[in-house]
C-alpha cells in the first residue's frame, strides 16, 4: 500500500507540511496541492473521509485546525491509512507534548524527521510508537552538546513576542491582555487558539 503523498494544511488552506513519495515536478505538486486543499476544505464535517480523485484515493482527517491528507492507490486500504494518519498525530503529540499547529510550524524539520522514521518511501517502516520515538530521541541525544533534550526551544527566544505568546498558550495559559493586543491579528487568525491537535479525540 504505497502512499503517494501526504499533505498537512490548516483550515485557512495554508500548507504546513508536504511529503511526496512519487517524483513530480514542482509545478505539478503545486497544482495538486491547490486542487486538493480546495476539494477537502469544501467538504462538510460529517462527510466520509475518503474520496476518489483522479485515479487515486484521498484519505483525510481533520485534527483541530489541521487537515491531514494522504493519497493512496486504487487497491490500497483506506481505513489503515486513516490510522497511519492517526499514528503520526500520536507521534507528534508524544514528542511535542500536546502538539498544536504552531509546533509544526516552528519545528517543521522535526515533523519531517518523525515522519521519515515512521514512513519511508510511502510505506510503514516502524509502527511501534516507542521505537519511533526512541530513534528520534537518540538522534536528539547525538547533538553536539547533548545538554538540552527538550524539543522546545522557545526558552531561547523570549525576546520574540509571538514566540513567547506561543509558549504560554501551548502551556495552557491565556495571553495577558497587553500581549494579545500587541500581537498582530495575523498570527491569531491563522493559527487560531493552539488547541491540542488531539483534543477532539480525547487523547491528551
Amino acid at each position: 500500500m504505497t502512499m503517494q503523498f501526504m499533505l498537512l494544511f490548516s483550515r485557512q488552506g495554508k500548507l504546513r507540511l508536504q511529503k511526496w513519495y512519487v517524483p513530480l515536478s514542482d509545478k505539478e505538486k503545486k497544482k495538486i496541492t491547490r486542487e486538493l486543499v480546495q476539494t477537502v476544505l469544501a467538504r462538510k464535517p460529517k462527510m466520509c473521509s475518503f474520496l476518489e480523485w483522479r485515479d487515486l484515493k484521498i484519505v483525510y482527517k481533520r485534527y483541530a485546525s489541521l487537515y491531514f491528507c494522504c493519497a493512496i492507490e486504487d487497491q490500497d486500504n483506506e481505513l489503515i491509512t486513516l490510522e497511519i494518519i492517526h499514528r503520526y498525530v500520536e507521534l507528534l503529540d508524544k514528542y511535542f507534548g500536546s502538539v498544536c499547529e504552531l509546533d509544526i510550524i516552528f519545528n517543521f524539520e522535526k515533523a519531517y524527521f518523525i515522519l521519515d522514521e515512521f514512513l519511508l518511501g510511502g510505506e510503514a517502516q516502524e509502527t511501534s510508537k516507542k521505537n519511533v520515538l526512541k530513534a528520534i530521541e537518540q538522534a536528539d541525544l547525538l547533538q553536539e552538546d547533548a545538554k538540552v533534550s527538550a524539543p522546545s526551544f522557545f526558552f531561547h527566544i523570549s525576546s520574540a513576542l509571538t514566540c513567547m505568546l506561543y509558549h504560554r498558550m501551548s502551556n495552557g495559559c491565556p495571553p495577558t491582555h497587553g500581549e494579545e493586543s500587541k500581537c498582530t491579528n495575523y498570527v491569531l487568525q491563522e493559527a487560531e487558539t493552539p488547541r491540542s491537535v488531539l483534543e477532539e479525540i480525547g487523547l491528551t
Binding site: M47, E52, V148, P151, F153
Partner: protein, 983 residues
C-alpha cells in the same frame, strides 16, 4: 551566536518564522523573505567561512522559505557541505534539504552520492539510516546505479541493526520501483523472504512491503513467502491483544502488518498445500468472527484498525473467489455495514460489495440488499457515497431487477450531481440495452434519458438506440409513435430532435395512418425544431426531409419549397447548402422508382458490441473527471466513433442504397464538415473564435458555458418577436425609418466595456454584435462584427454612426458603409476609425437597420468609446505621485464618489479592472496596501490631461471611495462617473 548553537533550536530560524507570521500582508511577507534571501546569499558568498551552525541555520531558513511556496535557486551546495559534517543535526538538516529540494536529475547528485557512500560505510546506524532515508526520498536513477547492489547486502547482512534493515528494505523498494532493471535478483532474494520470520515486528513490517512488490513482478521466485505469510498471519490473528506489546494498536494486534500480509497473499492463488490453506481459511474465519464480537474499545481507532483488517480479508476472499461460504459471510458482514452509522463504513461496504456482486457465489446474496442500496442512493448526504451506491446498483443489476434499478437510476438522475451525470447516463443506457426484455421498454428508457439529462447523453447513446430500432422491426412502429409524442414537448433537447428526425425519416410511415400524425403534421413538427438546432442536426433533418419525399409523395411540394428557400440553398454552411441543393435536385429529377431505391429504408446494422460500454470503461479509468474534461471526452468519443465504429452516420442514411463511391459519401458526411456535437445550439458561438481572448466577461459566452441552462432558456418564437420589437418602443406604431432611440440598456452595455476592449456588445435572438478595438495615443480603431443568428438573410442591412450634440466637435468617427445583405448564419465586419479631438463625455451612437422576414428592425446602441480609452499609463514613484497629487488640489479638479460594491472585491479582479482602465497601477505608493493608486495621461488631439486615481476599498462595509484628480475638471467628473459603475 555560538552560545545558542549549543541548544537544539536555532534562534535565528525561530525569529525569522515569527517575523513571517507577523507579516500583515502577502506583500510584507515577500518583502521580509527577500530581505532574508539577500542576507543568506551574502553570507554564503561572503569571504568569511561560515561555521556549521550558521550554515545549518541558513539552509533551514531556505527550506522554510521553500515550503512557504517560494522558489529557491541557491544553497544546494551549502546543504551538500552539511552532509559531510560530523555533527548529527547538521548532517540531518543537510539531508532534509536534499530530500525536499533536490530533484532527481540535479547535477549535485554525484556529490550527494559520495556523502551517502561515506555514511553507509560508517557503520554508525544513525548515519546509515539518514543516508538510506535520503536515497528512499530522492530515489533517482543515479542513486539506483550507485547503490542498488550495495543495499541488498546491508539488508541481509547478519550484523546489520534492525533499524537499518527496516530502512534498507524500504529504500530498496523505492529503487526497485524507479529502476527495476538495476535491482538484480540474486542470492539475497531467498534471504529477504525469510525476513517474514524475523523476530522484530518492525523488520517484518518494512520487509513485507518490499517482498509484496517483488512477488508481483517475480511470483515464482518468491513463492515460498505464501506459507511464511500464512503462519505469521495466523500467529498474529490468534494472539491476545496484549501479546504484541507496542505493536498492538488500540487492542488490535499488529493491524498494519496484518493488512500487509493479507495484501501479499493477494498476489498468489489460494495455497495448494491443504494444511496451509486450512490454516489460512481458519484465519479468515477468525477475522470474520471477530467482527461480530463486541468491541474492546469505543474509540474509533479500535474499530478502524479492526475493520481495516476485515476489509483486507474480504478482498482476499474475493480474490480467491473459491470459498462460497466465506463469500456469503463476507457479503452478510458488508450488508451490516451498509446501515452502519459511520459514513466511512457505509462507503467502504458499498465499494467492496461492488466486487462481490461480480462473483457467481455471492451475486444473489448481494442482490438481497437492493432496497438498502437504493435508499442510500436517495438519502446519503455525501455525493461520494451516492456515487458508490450507483456503482453498486449497476454491478448488482441483472434481468430480474433491471426494471427496478433502471427506474431508480433514472429518477435519481433528475437530481444527480453534475459531476456524475454522464457516467450515470452511460450506465442506464447499458443496463437498459443489456437487460431489455421488450424493446419498447428500451426505447422508452433511452428517450427518458434524453429528456431528463439530454446534455449528458453522448453520441454513442443515441447512435445505439437508432442501431437497435433499425435492427428490430418489432419496435419500429412503437419507436416512431414515441418519438413523435416526445417531440410535441415545447422544449425538447436537440438529441431528441436527432433521434426523432432519424426515426421519423425511416419509419414515419408506420404512424402516418393516424390523422393526428399525418405526414404533413410530422414534417411540420420536425421543421418547427429546425431553426433552434445546430448545423449537424439541421443536416440530419434535411436528410430526414428527403426521406419524407420518398415515404410520402404528398409532402414533396412543401419540402421542396423549404429546400429551395434561400436560408437552405444559399446557406453559408457548405454542408447544409450542398445537402439542400442535392436533395432538391434529386427530388425534382429522379423518378419515383429511382427515388425509392436511393432512399430505401436503412439495412440492419451488423451486430456488434455497444460502443457505450467501451466509453464507460474508458471513463472509469481516470476516476472523477471535471465537467470540462467530460466535454473533451465527448468530443473525442464522437470522433473515435466516426472512424472505427460508425454509428448510423447521417451520410450513410441519406445514401443508404445508392452505390455511391465513398468520396461522395464523404461529401455528404457531416463529420468532415464539423465536429459533431462540439457546439450544441450555439446561439453565441458565431463570435467565439474572434473573441477567444475576450474572457468570460462577455455576457453571451457566459450564458453558453452553462450548458445545462441552455434548454431552460431556449427562446420561443413569441419571445423572439418581442425582443426585436422591443427596440421599436411601441407595438402599435408602424416601424419607422428614423433611427430608434437608444436601447434602455445601452448605458449598461457601454459600462461593460469601460475596462475592456473586446467582447460581445449586444445580442438578441436575431443579431449578435461583437467588438474588437485598439487604441494608440489619441487614435483608435474599432472592428464591429455583425452576426446573423438566424437562417434567414437580413436585407437592407445598414448601419450609421453618429456623434450627437457637442460630441461632434470632440470625437471624429469614420467608417465605410457595410454590405446590405447578411446571409443566415453569416457575419460581416465593419471598421471604424476614431480620433479623439478633445475630452468628451457622451458616447457615439450606432444605429442598425435591416429587414428580417419583411419586418423592419431598427435599434440604436451606444458605442463603447469612452474617454479612458485614450489613456497612456504613467509609471511614477511614491514621492512623485504625492507631489502631483498635491499640485492638483483645486476643488474642481477633484471628483470623489463613495459607493457600494456591486462586484467581487477580490484583489486580482480589481487589479485586472484597473489595468483594463488603461492607467498604470502603482505599487508601494499608498501607505495603506489595501488601497490602489493609478496614474495616466489622456491623449487628445488638442491637449494632454494628467489623471491620478485612488481607490479605497472597505471590505467590511462593502464600500469604495473613489477619488480622481485630473488637470481638467470635466475629465475628473466623467472618469468618476464611468468608474463608479465598474466596481
Amino acid at each position: 551566536m555560538p552560545a545558542v548553537s549549543k541548544g537544539d533550536g536555532m534562534r535565528g530560524l525561530a525569529v525569522f518564522i515569527s517575523d513571517i507570521r507577523n507579516c500583515k500582508s502577502k506583500e510584507a511577507e515577500i518583502k521580509r523573505i527577500n530581505k532574508e534571501l539577500a542576507n543568506i546569499r551574502s553570507k554564503f558568498k561572503g569571504d568569511k567561512a561560515l561555521d556549521g551552525y550558521s550554515k545549518k541555520k541558513y539552509v533551514c531558513k531556505l527550506l522554510f522559505i521553500f515550503l512557504l511556496g517560494h522558489d529557491i535557486d541557491f544553497g544546494h551546495m551549502e546543504a551538500v557541505n552539511l552532509l559531510s559534517s560530523n555533527k548529527y543535526t547538521e548532517k540531518q538538516i543537510g539531508y532534509l534539504f536534499i530530500s525536499v529540494l533536490v530533484n532527481s536529475n540535479s547535477e549535485l547528485i554525484r556529490l550527494i552520492n559520495n556523502a551517502i557512500k561515506n555514511d553507509l560505510s560508517s557503520r554508525n546506524p544513525t548515519f546509515m539510516c539518514l543516508a538510506l532515508h535520503c536515497i528512499a526520498n530522492v530515489g533517482s536513477r543515479e542513486m539506483a546505479e550507485a547503490f542498488a547492489s550495495e543495499i541488498p547486502r546491508i539488508l541481509v547482512a547478519g550484523d546489520t541493526m534492525d533499524s537499518v534493515k527496516q530502512s534498507a528494505a524500504l529504500c530498496l523498494l523505492r529503487l526497485y520501483k524507479t529502476s527495476p532493471d538495476l535491482v538484480l535478483m540474486g542470492e539475497w532474494t531467498s534471504r529477504v523472504v525469510h525476513l517474514l520470520n524475523d523476530q522484530h515486528m518492525g523488520v517484518v513490517t518494512a520487509a513485507i512491503s518490499l517482498i509484496t512488490c517483488l512477488s508481483q513482478k517475480n511470483p515464482d521466485e518468491f513463492k515460498t513467502c505464501v506459507s511464511l505469510a500464512v503462519s505469521r498471519l495466523s500467529r498474529i490473528v490468534s494472539s491476545a491483544s496484549t501479546d504484541l506489546q507496542d505493536y498492538t494498536y488500540y487492542f488490535v494486534p499488529a493491524p498494519w502488518l496484518s493488512c500487509k500480509l493479507l495484501r501479499l497473499l493477494q498476489c498468489y492463488p489460494p495455497p495448494e498445500d491443504g494444511a496451509v490453506k486450512g490454516r489460512l481459511v481458519e484465519c479468515l474465519e477468525t477475522i470474520l468472527n471477530k467482527a461480530q464480537e463486541p468491541p474492546k474499545s469505543k474509540k474509533v481507532q479500535h474499530s478502524n484498525a479492526k475493520n481495516a483488517i476485515l476489509f483486507e480479508a474480504i478482498s482476499l476472499i474475493i480474490h480467491y473467489d473459491s470459498e462460497p461460504n466465506l463469500l456469503v459471510r463476507a457479503c452478510n458482514q458488508l450488508g451490516q455495514f451498509l446501515q452502519h452509522r459511520e459514513t466511512n463504513l457505509r462507503y467502504l461496504a458499498l465499494e467492496s460489495m461492488c466486487t462481490l456482486a461480480s462473483s457467481e457465489f455471492s451475486h444473489e446474496a448481494v442482490k438481497t440488499h437492493i432496497e438498502t442500496v437504493i435508499n442510500a442512493l436517495k438519502t446519503e448526504r455525501d455525493v461520494s457515497v451516492r456515487q458508490r451506491a450507483a456503482d453498486l446498483l449497476y454491478a448488482m443489476c441483472d434481468r430480474s431487477n433491471a426494471k427496478q434499478i433502471v427506474a431508480e437510476m433514472l429518477s435519481y438522475l433528475e437530481t444527480a450531481d453534475y459531476s456524475i451525470r454522464e457516467e450515470m447516463v452511460l450506465k442506464v443506457a447499458i443496463l437498459a440495452e443489456k437487460y431489455a426484455v421488450d424493446y419498447s421498454w428500451y426505447v422508452d428508457t433511452i428517450l427518458n434519458l434524453i429528456r431528463i439529462a439530454g446534455d449528458y447523453v453522448s453520441e454513442e447513446v443515441w447512435y445505439r438506440v437508432i442501431q437497435i430500432v433499425i435492427n428490430r422491426d418489432d419496435v419500429q412502429g412503437y419507436a416512431a409513435k414515441t418519438v413523435f409524442e416526445a417531440l410535441q414537448a415545447p422544449a425538447c433537447h436537440e438529441n431528441m430532435v436527432k433521434v426523432g428526425g432519424y426515426i421519423l425519416g425511416e419509419f414515419g410511415n408506420l404512424i402516418a395512418g393516424d390523422p393526428r400524425s399525418s405526414p404533413l403534421v410530422q414534417f411540420n413538427l420536425l421543421h418547427s425544431k429546425f431553426h433552434l438546432c445546430s448545423v449537424p442536426t439541421r443536416a440530419l433533418l434535411l436528410s430526414a426531409y428527403i426521406k419524407f419525399i420518398n415515404l410520402f409523395p404528398e409532402t414533396k411540394p412543401t419540402i421542396q419549397e423549404v429546400l429551395r428557400c434561400d436560408s437552405q440553398i444559399r446557406n453559408s454552411d457548405v454542408e447544409l447548402q450542398q445537402r439542400a441543393v442535392e436533395y432538391l435536385k434529386l427530388s425534382s429529377i429522379a423518378s419515383t422508382d429511382v427515388l425509392a431505391t436511393v432512399l430505401e429504408e436503412m439495412p440492419p446494422f451488423p451486430e456488434r458490441e455497444s460502443s457505450i460500454l467501451a466509453k464507460l470503461k474508458k471513463k472509469k479509468g481516470p476516476g472523477a473527471v471535471s465537467v470540462t474534461e467530460l466535454e473533451d471526452n465527448k468530443r473525442e468519443g464522437g470522433e473515435l466513433n466516426g472512424s472505427s465504429d460508425r454509428g448510423p452516420d447521417i451520410a450513410a442514411m441519406a445514401a443508404s442504397n445508392a452505390s455511391t463511391p465513398s468520396p461522395s459519401a464523404d461529401l455528404l458526411g457531416i463529420r468532415s464538415a464539423a465536429p459533431v456535437g462540439a457546439a450544441p445550439t450555439s446561439a453565441g458561438s458565431l463570435l467565439v473564435d474572434v473573441f477567444s481572448e475576450a474572457g468570460p466577461a462577455a455576457p453571451s459566452l457566459a450564458v453558453n458555458d452553462d450548458g445545462f441552462l441552455r434548454d431552460l432558456e431556449q427562446p420561443t418564437e413569441a419571445s423572439d418577436a418581442l425582443l426585436v420589437e422591443g427596440s421599436g418602443d411601441s407595438d402599435s406604431a408602424p416601424p419607422s425609418e428614423d433611427p430608434a432611440a437608444p436601447l434602455s440598456e445601452a448605458d449598461e452595455l457601454l459600462n461593460k466595456f469601460v475596462c475592456k476592449n473586446n467582447g460581445v456588445l449586444f445580442e438578441n435572438q436575431l443579431l449578435q454584435i461583437g467588438i474588437k478595438s485598439e487604441y494608440r495615443q489619441n487614435l483608435g480603431r474599432m472592428y464591429l462584427f455583425y452576426g446573423n443568428k438566424t437562417s434567414v438573410q437580413f436585407a437592407s442591412f445598414s448601419t450609421t454612426v453618429t456623434c450627437p450634440g457637442e460630441l461632434q466637435s470632440q470625437l471624429n468617427v469614420q467608417t465605410k458603409p457595410v454590405e446590405p445583405i447578411v446571409e443566415g448564419g453569416a457575419q460581416i465586419q465593419q471598421v471604424l476609425n476614431i480620433e479623439c479631438l478633445t475630452d468628451f463625455s457622451d458616447a457615439p451612437l450606432l444605429n442598425i437597420k435591416f429587414r428580417y422576414g419583411g419586418a423592419l428592425q431598427n435599434l440604436t446602441l451606444k458605442l463603447p468609446v469612452t474617454i479612458n480609452k485614450f489613456f497612456q499609463p504613467t509609471e511614477m514613484l511614491s514621492h512623485d505621485f504625492f507631489q502631483r497629487w498635491k499640485q492638483l488640489s483645486q476643488p474642481q479638479q477633484e471628483a470623489q464618489k463613495i459607493f457600494k460594491a456591486n462586484h467581487s472585491m477580490d484583489t486580482e479582479v480589481l487589479k485586472a479592472k484597473l489595468l483594463g482602465l488603461g492607467m498604470a497601477l502603482l505599487d508601494n505608493v499608498d501607505p495603506n496596501p489595501e488601497n490602489y493608486v493609478c496614474a495616466g495621461v489622456i491623449q487628445t488631439k488638442g491637449q494632454q490631461v494628467g489623471c491620478l486615481l485612488r481607490l479605497e476599498p472597505n471590505a467590511q462595509a462593502q464600500m469604495y471611495r473613489l477619488t480622481l484628480r485630473c488637470s481638467k475638471d470635466s475629465v475628473s467628473r466623467r472618469l468618476c462617473e464611468l468608474l463608479a459603475q465598474q466596481f
